[in-house]
Each structure stands twice: as C-alpha cells, then as structure tokens.
C-alpha cells in the first residue's frame, strides 16, 4: 500500500539534504497585466525530494485535483510516487504545479511571459520591485 504523500515528505526530510536550486522562474500573469513580474523560488526540501525520486506524485494528479472542490477527496496524496527527476525536469514540474495554467498552457500572445533564469539574474536591489517586467529585448537576442 502506498504511503500518504505527507508521510513520504516527513521521511524524506529526515534523510535528504536540502538542495538550493540554481534557477528561478520569472513569469507574468496575462490575467493581471498591471502586476509586476513574479519570481518563483523552488523549495530546497522539495527539490531534494524531486531529485531523489520515490516521493512526489505524478504532475497530472495535481492538474486533475485543481478541478476538485474543497473538502472532496484529492488524488495526489495517494498516488504512486514517480522516479527521480533532474533539476530541469523538476523545475518544469514545479511550473505546472505552482504557476497558473493561463501562464504556461493557455497564453497565445507574442510576449514572452515565462522564463527560467539562473538565480544570479534576479536583481537583489528591490527599489523598483513593483515595476519589474520580463525584458523582451533580451529575450529576442
């Protein structure tokens, strides 16, 4: 019998060393055109579980669970865990799990609204944080 996801995470945290990702995911939500670009930061313990394998459920269980109303049984805690991913695959999984589908699946416009970047490219100076947008000129280069 497959252990509940929460128990697998508990066991994983006791034995895996956290892994700080080299990447961040920059994105703009087309449903909020006036909002600044958002920056997704992968969790180090989650990344360690993704790289180890045998802990996280298939991504399609999360996508189906998005449609499940509150209080109804969800699929992802009880699904068979998947094998180990490399860091790039883990980031792609995380994009589908934690970023709204209108960003990574539904958007048909010409503007680049999603970009995986090395962490060094994220400005540490937050003076103009609420005006951040993804640089379209650099994307074209």
């Amino acid at each position: 019998m497959t252990q509940h996801l929460w128990n697998r995470l508990l066991e994983a945290k006791s034995r895996l060393k956290p892994v700080q990702s080299k990447y961040r995911v920059l994105f703009e939500n087309p449903d909020q055109p006036d909002a600044p670009a958002a920056v997704l930061v992968p969790d180090p313990n989650w990344m360690a579980a993704a790289l180890a394998g045998g802990i996280l459920p298939p991504i399609d269980t999360y996508l189906r669970d998005r449609e499940v109303p509150d209080g109804q049984p969800k699929e992802h805690p009880y699904a068979e865990p998947i094998d180990a991913m490399n860091e790039e695959e883990a980031i792609e999984y995380l994009i589908m799990k934690d970023i709204p589908p209108q960003v990574w699946r539904d958007y048909k416009g010409n503007r680049a609204i999603l970009r995986i970047v090395p962490v060094e490219l994220i400005p540490s100076d937050r003076s103009y944080r609420n005006a951040w947008k993804i640089n379209q000129l650099e994307m074209a280069a």
Partner: protein, 122 residues
C-alpha cells in the same frame, strides 16, 4: 515505516487522545526572507514561494489541505514593526497571498517570515 496505533497517549497521570495530537500538529511550515533575492531558509511540505511584489509572497504547499478553512500562524522579524495586511485573499487548499506592511500600512519586505499551517490534510 511502521505504525503505532493507539487511541490515547499518557504520561502516567494525564492522558490525551491521539486525535488531538495528530490534528493539532502543524501540517506544513516555512521560514523565508523577502529582502533582496527572496529565498527559503527551511520548510516542511512546501514546494515553492512566489515573490509577486514588495511585501507580497505566495507560499505553495506540496500536500494540499482538505479545504481552504485551515489555520495559518506566523511570525516576522525586521528592524521596524510590521503588521500583516492579509493572510487569505485568494486562499486555496495549496496557498494564499501573504502580505506584509509597515506601521504606515505601506507594503514592505520583511527580513524573515515564518508560517505554520494547521488543519486537515487532503
């Protein structure tokens, strides 16, 4: 992993139902910084945080909660006093917008934020 199935836990004098212990323990927690490049210091059952603006962060958990009426407790640290503008606008079973502001109610980043979730898991 083996399971210990008991209905009560006792220290010899006082006993408590294991349901109180299980249901009352945190199901997820995260410690992160908003200043500079946002980063997660440590966590449990969290998959990411998303920096959406000054003083605005969306933490997302790995194992969802059963419903969106779970409890979130928090602490913050910085050189100024903060108040929380909201824990809960657009609250879902996996996340919510966490907002910090200074005493003038202007959005501001905190050096360190710690959140803990209690409630039922999915």
């Amino acid at each position: 992993m083996s399971n210990l199935v008991v209905s009560n836990i006792s220290d010899g004098t006082t006993s408590v139902g294991t349901g109180y212990v299980v249901n009352g323990s945190a199901k997820a927690w995260v410690d992160f910084g908003q200043v500079g490049t946002q980063s997660i210091n440590d966590s449990f059952n969290v998959s990411s945080i998303t920096d959406v603006a000054v003083g605005r962060t969306v933490p997302t958990i790995t194992n969802a909660m059963a419903g969106s009426n779970y409890h979130v407790s928090f602490s913050m640290w910085d050189n100024v006093y903060y108040l929380v503008v909201s824990v809960g606008s657009s609250k879902t079973t996996t996340g919510f917008l966490f907002a910090t502001a200074n005493t003038s109610s202007a959005a501001e980043d905190a050096d360190q934020v710690t959140l803990a979730y209690t409630g039922d898991l999915a």
